[in-house]
């Protein structure tokens, strides 16, 4: 078990290193004359050169990269080129908004998926067909269209929720819940659609297994066998899909944050992208990659818990 965790941890850190390195090299070498872009087309060459040396852009790329990576290890990610704000503060103050959205959507989706999938797999018949058809629709419609629909229906027409704004969970839980409910619903619908299909399929497979009959023959009720044994065996593939969906949700959150005006990672990403503020973009890439690596690690550990064969190999 110990070795299993260590192995996953090392491969996660390695992945993080590779992603940030590739991103850094591509972003900095692809940006052309950065100093010129910052000071504007009317500036003199001397002004451009001064800006470049001020930002350290006149040094070789490898040296700049070394600076960045040694800084990154200590949590120091440089400053924004345009407003001079520390990248680490900008990212860390927003990452929790995005994380609470995405984690909330994942948990909601996992819970709903299990209930609906068990329902469809056990009952079959028309319930199963309806679930499958709705699943295809939910999977096909882009998440931000669903978000737009929710805004216009519940916020603009019915006025149940405020359309925009954010209250931190530390200020007021009720206020936080009211501001993230619609975004979480918008994000989780597509996720539910994908995960339900997966769990339903693995449940139907698992229900046909011999041990289901044997456990029932020992006097366990059908529901107990389904919820304790069948679900646990169907859980592995479901978790894998959930992990893939989680990565997609991080992307979807960018747009959903924009629609609901939530101060998350998406907001600074869009702003930095429009300006070409590379240090901030790098900070976002690092934060996203770190989240993905962490979640994959957690999922791996959960897989090991669900399936003893994974743990022991």
């Amino acid at each position: 078990m110990y070795r299993f965790v260590l192995k996953r941890l090392v491969s996660g850190v390695l992945l993080l290193f590779v992603i940030t390195t590739v991103a850094y090299l591509l972003l900095y070498s692809g940006s052309g004359d950065i100093a010129r872009r910052i000071v504007g087309p009317t500036a003199t060459d001397a002004q451009v050169a001064m800006k470049a040396s001020q930002l350290g852009l006149d040094r070789p790329l490898v040296v700049q990269y070394w600076d960045w990576i040694t800084g990154a290890v200590t949590g120091e990610l440089g400053r924004s080129w345009f407003n001079g704000q520390l990248v680490s503060t900008g990212v860390s103050s927003r990452v929790w908004v995005t994380l609470s959205l995405v984690l909330g959507a994942t948990i909601v989706a996992a819970f709903i998926s299990v209930v609906v999938a068990v329902w469809a797999a056990v009952r079959r018949g028309w319930i199963d067909r309806v679930v499958q058809f709705v699943g295809v629709l939910g999977f096909a419609i882009p998440g931000f269209l669903i978000a737009l629909g929710l805004v216009s229906l519940f916020a603009l027409n019915l006025k149940w929720f405020k359309a925009t704004g954010y209250v931190p969970i530390t200020t007021s839980f009720g206020g936080w819940a009211a501001t993230v409910t619609l975004p979480i619903i918008a994000l989780s619908i597509g996720c539910v659609a994908a995960v339900v299909q997966q769990i339903r399929g693995s449940l139907i497979d698992a229900l046909r297994k011999d041990y289901v009959r044997t456990l029932r023959a020992r006097g366990l009720s059908f529901n107990r066998v389904v919820y304790k044994h069948v679900l646990r065996n169907a859980g592995g593939p479901a978790l894998a899909v959930l992990a893939v969906q989680f990565i997609g949700l991080l992307g979807g959150a960018v747009i959903v944050e924009q629609i609901f005006a939530l101060p998350g990672l998406g907001q600074i990403t869009v702003a930095a992208t429009g300006q070409g503020d590379i240090p901030v973009v790098m900070g976002v890439v690092l934060a996203t990659a770190a989240i993905v690596v962490t979640v994959n690690l957690i999922i791996d550990l959960a897989q090991g818990w669900l399936n003893p064969k994974v743990r022991l190999s």
């Binding site: 992945l15 044997t214 006097g219």
Partner: protein, 615 residues
């Protein structure tokens, strides 16, 4: 020219897939929607009422109707015309992403799958890397460098999407690469290029087409998302940028969001439904094997029924031996019928008018070849028939209650505690996710209502009792860590753990090694003696019957053809089928019948299914 004949079936297959899609309800509707959207976009210059970029100040946010079919946007541009022209750019952008993904993914998948080696390792690793970050974040980062060009964004997205094709092609190619016909092609001197083109591309073509529809939908969605964020090229109309304009003015003109959202949603849904329809149709057209198997099963069942009808004579019943019927009557099955509901509404009967009795302390053997209905009879006593299977008639009296008509809740109380079950295949009957110990304790705690500590103590005693050398270690093991013989002992321990009155053992030794078989049979006999249980022993092995049973029922095609005390059956078999089974025994102690030529009745006996004899 030489290539022409083999090429024919390929086009035929293509045409037939298209034809099938046209008759598939959602497939046809999706195709129609996509065709109309594509056509409208192509004919934009003809259909449009305005120049899509012509801004008229007086028409800003104009309502639908007044000179503008669907109104005008925040710059006074005609929404209808923009929608048409935007179709050109949005669809073309998605096609660019698809093309890039196809070229990279399919090529890399073919090379990595066919040649393997370092290219395989590198591309698989790259695939993992590409899929580690959300596409949206990568696109935004790229946008910071390459600027707002939609075409460049879509090319980059194509690279990000290429793993979808890479994985698909890679999996198909590695599966096909070692097929015999590919080997044959290689041996006959075809170049790799021709083999890939002829044998491998044909395999991956259909899944790639399906995946393409999905990928197009994703590309349209993500492109619309980028433009919606306001990060797109403002000089060209796209559905996403129209959505952006509409969202900014959502309070002033809510309808502006509606039209582009409707088009994007429709196209995405149509593409997904189309992919699903294609998958359905391909599965159906590759399904004759499945259909054939089902049809064969139906015919076999019908045969069985017919045969049962023909040989509907009453079973041969041997008289009781004096002094044997002393035990209390535990189970009395009368006139039992089991049927499976077919999709066409009919019912296939697999067990007809079966009757049998079990007394306390008695072992009743249920003998017959595979498919004779003995396992179905056993499952129906437990009320654990597979899905679609049900008891069609008769009664199963156990302690004065008719199990055939008991509620599921009542039945749960009977299972485990009163009637227990030992399965045939030990490994697949243990849940691999839980330890042996937890699987033994759970039913005991539910059925007997005992504490965890007590259940643990009892489980260890049981494991020792069934002859497991180190009960503590096995208790803490997972099923994949123990041998098949051990697993069967564990299942026997589980079956007797709640002191049942009746034990149903379904070929408990068939899956085991010969030496282990003898040990397990001895164990069963000991436990039966000790606990004074009634036992139904399902087997196709007369050696086992001779060893363990007090009474035998011989089943053929869903009926009991002969029943009686074991001695009577062995010494005085009346039914020809019973005699055939007895004659098939190769053991020295049992009588070996006359040699029967391989024609006529001997074929019916299917001796290959009556594997040797144990003990």
């Amino acid at each position: 020219m030489i290539d022409a004949p083999p090429a024919l079936p390929v086009t035929a297959a293509k045409i037939s897939l298209f034809r099938k899609l046209v008759t598939h309800p959602t497939g046809a509707a999706s195709l129609l929607v996509l065709f109309l959207v594509a056509l409208a976009s192509l004919l934009a210059p003809v259909l449009a009422t305005h120049d899509p970029n012509e801004a008229t100040l007086k028409d800003v946010l104009a309502k639908a109707g007044s000179g503008h079919l669907l109104g005008a946007d925040s710059a006074g541009r005609d929404v209808f015309s923009r929608l048409l022209f935007a179709g050109q750019f949005s669809l073309a952008g998605a096609v660019v992403a698809l093309a890039v993904a196809l070229v990279i993914g399919v090529t890399a998948g073919l090379i990595a799958g066919y040649y393997g080696g370092w290219f395989d390792a590198v591309s698989s690793w790259l695939t993992g890397l590409l899929m580690a970050l959300p596409g949206m974040v990568v696109l935004l980062a790229a946008r910071a460098v390459v600027g707002p060009s939609m075409w460049l964004s879509m090319m980059i997205f194509g690279v990000l999407l290429s793993p979808a094709f890479f994985r698909l092609v890679y999996a198909s190619v590695t599966a096909v690469r070692n097929e015999l016909y590919v080997d044959a092609a290689r041996v006959s001197g075809l170049s790799d290029f021709r083999i890939i083109g002829r044998h491998i591309l044909t395999v991956v073509r259909a899944p790639v087409i399906i995946q393409s529809a999905m990928v197009l939908g994703i590309a349209i969605a993500i492109q619309a998302g980028l433009e919606f964020l306001g990060l797109g090229d403002r000089s060209i109309p796209t559905w996403g940028s129209m959505l952006n304009d509409g969202f900014i003015n959502i309070f002033k003109a809510p309808a502006l969001v509606l039209w582009p959202a409707l088009v994007i949603g429709l196209v995405c849904i149509a593409l997904t439904l189309l992919a699903n329809a294609m998958r359905d149709e391909l599965e159906r057209s590759s399904g004759p094997v499945k259909k054939g198997r089902k049809a064969a099963a139906a015919t076999a069942a019908a045969d069985a029924e017919g045969a049962a009808g023909k040989r509907g004579d009453a079973a041969v019943v041997h008289p009781e031996e004096p002094g044997t019927d002393t035990g209390e009557l535990l189970l009395e099955v009368t006139d039992l019928g089991v049927g499976y509901d077919q999709p066409d509404g009919s019912t296939t009967h697999v067990v007809n008018h079966v009757g049998l009795t079990v007394r306390r302390g008695e072992v009743h053997g249920l003998v017959g070849e595979s498919g004779s209905g003995k396992t179905q009879t056993a499952f129906s006593i437990l009320r654990l028939l597979p899905q679609d299977g049900r008891i069609t008639g008769g009664s199963i009296f156990f302690e004065g209650k008719d199990l055939a008509h008991l509620s599921e809740k009542e039945m749960t109380k009977v299972r485990g505690k009163r009637i227990a079950y030992i399965p045939q295949e030990p490994m697949s009957n243990l849940d691999g996710a839980f330890t042996i110990g937890s699987q033994l304790m759970e039913p005991m705690r539910v059925c007997l209502g005992i504490s965890k500590a007590e259940a643990r103590k009892r489980a260890l005693v049981l494991l020792a009792k069934v002859g497991i050398p180190n009960p503590e270690r096995t208790f803490n093991s997972y099923p994949h860590q123990i041998s098949g013989g051990m697993a069967q002992r564990v299942l026997i321990a589980g079956a007797v753990s709640c002191n049942p009155d009746l034990l149903i053992a379904d070929e408990p030794t068939t899956a085991l090694d010969v030496t282990v078989q003898a040990e397990v049979l001895n164990l069963l006999r000991e436990l039966q003696d000790e606990l004074n249980m009634g036992v139904i022993l399902v087997t196709h092995n007369f050696g086992v019957v001779a060893d363990l049973c007090d009474r035998v029922s011989v089943m053929q095609t869903g009926r009991v053809v002969e029943t009686g005390p074991v001695r009577a059956i062995f010494n005085d078999a009346q039914h020809p089928y019973t005699r055939q089974l007895l004659d098939a025994i190769l053991e020295d102690t049992a009588p070996r019948g006359q040699y029967i030529p391989a024609t006529g009745t001997a074929q019916l006996a299917k001796p290959q299914e009556l594997k040797g004899v144990t003990s």
